[in-house]
């Protein structure tokens, strides 16, 4: 019974909550019980506060009772009473905010991120702090300073990263949905590896205020969910302009869930692009076959499949690791041991505080990226690396926009391989970077991208299909993803835990 609740979708649960045959407290209790039962093995959470979560659930039940007394039917508030897990880089007032780093081990958020405020306004319960690669830098969650998260489908394997805790929590029934952040694939790749839906919105669609910054021109917050419709509900709650993030766009937030349903009804024939650059060397044959089968499914739905070309794809990782590390070296300069975060006890003077606190507070991957980013921005190297990478970024973006003259969305594998074994790539940063090869271009171009479950390997590991959409056309992207999801039952499969 309680496991059934934990694997229900937002749309199923909100219906039951509205009918009154389930309370938010009962739902939260079920999620807590499930988390207690499995998280010792999964390790999705850095921490969670049961009393706080139950308090939020009680408040939700009270709001609902009050609304009911005044005649409201609760429709239009799909997240009321729904526990949403939060990646430990998004500030929730009064809760820890560690970025899975020793640097912020004891930090407590003094305020809410805009997305946290919006979730609360929508009635959702901000549930726990989900593990990640330190400062969102990594593709396996092995770079966390605190714990290794396991893939619920095979505990010897990684859940992907950097939002590995978010993906694992939803896959293991420890949260109904979750928030992650995506700088180069950090929502889509773990979603693919854990058999859940993951959506990175268009850059600027969701406010980054209160998100710990990694690479500001690439970072975007987005949902993990059990269905495409659930992802639409969470996106609808968190999207929108925010005066506190000058890169958030002044654009109305459409009714994503309603809009995708209307498009599904309209029977529109989508034009979908396939790019050969995403099916080349390094692609696991079983992943390739599953994605090909998904493309055939779309063809069977009456969609038009067209070949498109994204010729600069092979330069995306190179450009990304210059741009992202440059921005990270600048953003992480704020961790100076003065106002917050770790301060070395051995420091003798002010300058020494910087050097030693940063040496003690940051893990190896963060140090590597700060060094690389500092180098590519340093005098004499800026034009050769950073400026050149920014120009290549222009070409990558142009490739996508040219392709979108012919198609509504582009279909690719999300990750070249299924979940890899823990430790397999830990000593080889370049090999780890290459696992983001299909997701990184989307961030450089600022586009919306989704991963949806599209099958399993013979060994039982999940495979994800990536759909890439046009800027600010999330409704169409969701409708396209939803059309495939409706024809398959991959998303309903559960790991044995």
């Amino acid at each position: 019974m309680s496991e059934e609740l934990c694997y229900s979708t937002i749309s199923e649960l909100s219906g039951r909550l509205a009918r009154g045959d389930l309370s938010a407290v009962e739902l939260m209790q079920a999620v807590i019980a499930r988390t207690r039962k499995v998280d010792g093995r999964v390790g999705a959470f850095n921490s969670f506060d049961e009393e706080d979560a139950l308090g939020q659930a009680r408040a939700s039940d009270e709001r609902r009772a009050k609304a009911r007394a005044s005649g409201a039917d609760g429709r239009g508030r799909p997240l009321e009473g729904i526990p949403v897990g939060i990646k430990d880089v998004v500030a929730v007032a009064g809760q820890p905010l560690t970025a899975s780093s020793r640097m912020l081990e004891n930090y407590v958020s003094p305020y809410d991120a805009t997305v946290a405020r919006k979730l609360k306004e929508a009635g959702a319960i901000c549930w726990g702090r989900l593990n990640l690669d330190e400062f969102a830098m990594g593709s396996s969650t092995e770079n966390s300073a605190f714990r290794t998260t396991s893939n619920p489908w095979d505990l010897e394997r990684v859940p992907g990263g950097s939002s590995g805790g978010s993906a694992a929590a939803v896959a293991a029934g420890e949260a109904v949905a979750a928030l992650g952040s995506d700088t180069g694939g950090s929502i889509r790749q773990p979603a693919a590896l854990c058999n859940v839906v993951g959506l990175k919105p268009t850059y600027g669609r969701v406010s980054r205020y209160g998100l710990i910054a990694f690479a500001s021109s690439l970072d975007q917050i987005g949902p993990f969910a059990r269905s495409v419709e659930d992802a639409a509900s969470v996106l609808g709650a968190i999207a929108g302009h925010d005066p506190r993030d000058s890169t958030s766009v002044r654009m109305d937030v459409p009714d994503y869930a309603g809009g995708m349903a209307a498009l599904a009804k309209s029977g529109r024939r989508w034009r979908l692009g396939i790019a050969k650059e995403y099916f080349g060397e390094g692609l696991d044959p079983e992943v390739g076959a599953a994605v090909q089968a998904a493309v055939d499914e779309y063809r069977g739905l009456g969609c038009e499949i067209r070949e498109v070309s994204l010729p600069h794809t092979r330069y995306a990782i190179g450009a990304y690791y210059i741009i992202a590390t440059a921005e990270c070296s600048s953003n992480l300069a704020r961790y100076d041991g003065v106002r917050y975060g770790r301060r070395s006890k051995d420091a003798t003077d002010a300058l020494d505080i910087y050097f030693k606190s940063r040496a003690e507070g940051f893990g190896p991957e963060v140090k590597r990226r700060i060094i690389l980013g500092t180098y590519v921005l340093s005098s004499g190297y800026y034009d050769a690396y950073y400026l050149r990478a920014q120009k290549v970024r222009t070409l990558i973006r142009r490739d996508f926009l040219d392709a979108f003259a012919q198609v509504d969305a582009i279909l690719t594998p999300t990750s070249p391989t299924p979940a890899f074994r823990k430790g397999e790539k830990a000593a080889d940063p370049l090999a780890m970077y290459l696992s983001d090869i299909y997701t990184i271009g989307v961030n450089l171009a600022g586009l919306p991208g989704m991963s949806i479950p599209c099958g399993f390997t013979r060994g039982g590991l999940p495979i994800g299909l990536q759909a890439i959409g046009q800027p600010f056309r999330e409704t169409e992207l969701l409708a396209i993803a939803g059309a495939y999801e409706k024809r398959t039952d991959w998303r309903t499969r559960r790991p044995r835990l």
């Binding site: 407590v108 600027g204 940063r358 040496a359 590597r368 690389l372 180098y375 050149r388 290549v392």
Partner: protein, 96 residues
Amino acid sequence: MPRPDDLRLDHVANLARLALTDEEKARFAAQLGDVLAYVQQLNEVDISGIEPTAHAFPVVNVWAEDVPEPGLPVEDALRNAPQKRDNMFVVPKVVE
């Protein structure tokens, strides 16, 4: 593009205000050498006449009305301070 072996770790670590052990320096030099060798492929791209992209969508200056709003209370701003006294952050002496 400069060669990967141009990466002088002592100099860069100093710019980044990051103390590295000898072991870290040796390991990072090898690992980042691989990464820098990989990114050399960007040299193959013809970028003549191409404008750089800093943001995927043009970012323009955003003006806000100069209206005072309540900020973070001092107590909250100081909550995470490693060392504090009289509503201030405490640091070692910086001026002789």
